[in-house]
Amino acid sequence: MIALREICREYHVGDETVHALDHVSLDIDRGEYLSIMGASGSGKSTLLNMLGLLDMPNSGSYRFEGRELMTLSEEARATFRREKIGFIFQSFHLIPRLSAYGNLELPLMLQGVPPSQRRERITRALHDLGLGERMDHLPKELSGGQQQRVAIARAMILEPPLLLADEPTGNLDSRSGDEVTRLLESLHDRGMTLVIVTHDADLGKRATRQIRMHDGQILHDRDGGAG
């Protein structure tokens, strides 16, 4: 599904050049469950942002389902993110003034789904994640685990083929973290391609494929784990 070739991403801080990604090549197949681990600053988030087209490399090639993405216009990249990618963040990124319902409505609004079809889709998505009762709650009225589940529902509502999660359990206690992990794995079980950046070795090991990064490079890449 995904083919990254020789991706470089540099930041210039003062006179220094930081190689956040240093000639990274990576293939991901449909249906894979991939975890990315490594020390802080090793380039995990940068790689994930690259996969989601939130960021553009200085050089290299990115093919998604056979299509080269490096040449896409800004508008086309936005469309790609909307249709192909579900993002999950450590800090949830729910819009605080909008209810769970309102937050789930955002992707539907951006996709131009007619208002008449929204309620049903949102209700179903929230029910699937056991949040049916929480539809009209504001984020601040929800626990961390609930907030992250709303965020996952939002990432999934347009049924994108690829889910990218940057430390999805990083802000959660272990019990909520486990819930979120199980939720993500159930999505994988239903055929979703899943890429998770994590500091949590236990979580990382559960993935069917693990990547370890160091200084902007992929150190090793192996199949295994419990999956």
């Binding site: 989601g52 939130l54 508008e75 936005a78 469309t79 993110r81 990618i85 993002f87 609004m109």
Partner: protein, 400 residues
């Protein structure tokens, strides 16, 4: 994103920070209300002056000896007359079917004496039609009689102001007064009223034309005031010129001025003044605009992670731009409408407190206020909106 959704999203954002929203709205309201109020005051002044002029009698053309090159300007000051304007000219003008009345006017100053008191007054020699043409109202007595049209009857009519000055509350109607070297019987008192462009009525005494001519020892007329029924002033003007030219051996030696040409030039000045004060009012809108810009810039920086999220969810830069522009537009439009209402309210208040002042809001000011409000929002909102749209998604998400 559909427009409906954009508006809904922006509305929610505005509601979420009521303090900020109220501040911007207040600035907009003050700006728009002051534009409305200032232009209404200007328009009121214009109407007031127009009303004063109207009271003088419109449909008025003034024929003066002497010639000016410019048409329709002020009366000639140093124009050199080849021929006097005469009562015969007046009679000829009167025969023109488009002319209702032709009133001769002789003007001068003389001393008025009564019972040992003396005062310099403006003397207007004219005939009975003068009253109609200049809309004069008698307070007491009679106006110059028709029999004195071309005869030196020794009668005079006095302005009320002058009467007060000269006689106080004494009853002198019917008494004889001396004007210059001659004696006149006081037969009427005029109601005080505004000034004509040329003559101050409140300090004037009216006597028959021929009496004035002999008093000042001149054969010509100062001017002839023409009242016409026709709306085609220019045509009447041309006919007068042609008629007098024919009578004056082909010399174009008169000037014809529309009284309301003077009124309309003053009207023009006040109109421009109204626009000018309205323009000054828009300066306060500029302040509102800058406030919108600043407050929204703060808002953008506080909502970076929200902007980043929208980008991650697949909003294009154009959509982000539209979200913030619609916020600015809504603020300015709502502020504009509220400001319009506040302005109209203030105008209504002034109208009820000062009924003599015909304060009135020109329609163009209302439209202009709303258009300017909208433009303010769009122009000053576009800076923060562009700032928001140009954020890098990763930087925005991390709140950097």
């Amino acid at each position: 994103m559909m427009l409906r959704d954009t508006v809904r999203f922006s509305t929610a954002a505005l509601r979420a920070s009521p303090g900020r929203t109220a501040l911007i709205l207040l600035a907009m309201v003050i700006g728009i209300a002051s534009v409305i109020l200032l232009t209404s005051l200007g328009e009121g002044a214009r109407r007031y002056v127009a009303g004063q002029f109207h009271a003088l009698g419109s449909n008025l053309l003034l024929v003066m000896p002497g010639r000016t090159e410019t048409q329709g300007g002020m009366p000639p000051m140093f124009g050199h007359a080849q021929h006097d304007l005469t009562l015969e000219d007046r009679t000829a003008l009167e025969r023109d079917p488009l002319i209702d009345m032709a009133v001769p006017i002789v003007f001068g100053t003389a001393d008025l004496t009564y019972d040992g008191r003396e005062r310099q007054v403006s003397v207007i020699g004219t005939d009975s039609n003068y009253q109609h043409v200049f809309n004069l109202t008698l307070m007491r007595g009679k106006f110059l009689p028709a029999t004195a049209r071309d005869r030196a009857e020794p009668v005079c009519v006095l302005g009320e102001h002058l009467y007060q000055k000269l006689f106080g509350h004494a009853e002198v109607l019917g008494d004889w007064v001396r004007i210059g070297t001659r004696r006149f019987r006081l037969i009427g008192l005029l109601q005080p009223k505004g000034k004509t462009a040329t003559l101050d009525m409140s300090n004037a005494v009216l006597i028959p034309t021929v009496s004035a001519q002999s008093l000042f020892n001149r054969s010509g007329l100062f001017q002839i005031a023409i009242q016409t029924r026709s709306e085609a002033f220019a045509r009447v003007q041309d006919r007068i010129l042609a008629l007098i030219q024919a009578r004056h051996n082909g010399e174009k030696d008169i000037t014809v001025v529309r009284q309301d040409a003077m009124a309309s030039s003053l009207d023009q000045i006040l109109r421009i003044l109204t626009i000018a004060v309205g323009g000054i009012g828009t300066i306060s809108l500029l302040v509102a605009g800058i406030l919108i810009m600043n407050v929204m810039m703060v808002s953008v920086s506080q909502r970076r992670s929200e902007i980043g999220l929208l980008m991650a969810l697949g909003a294009s830069t154009r959509e982000i731009l539209l979200v913030f522009l619609s916020e600015a537009t809504m603020l300015s439009l709502i502020g504009g409408v509220l400001g319009l209402m506040a302005g109209l309210g203030a105008v209504g208040l002034i109208a009820s407190l000062v009924p003599v002042f015909p304060i009135s809001t020109p329609w163009w000011a209302m439209i202009a206020a709303l258009v300017v409000a909208l433009a303010t929002g769009l122009i000053f909102g576009s800076v923060p909106a562009r700032q928001a749209a140009q954020l890098h998604p990763v930087a925005a998400l991390s709140g950097r």
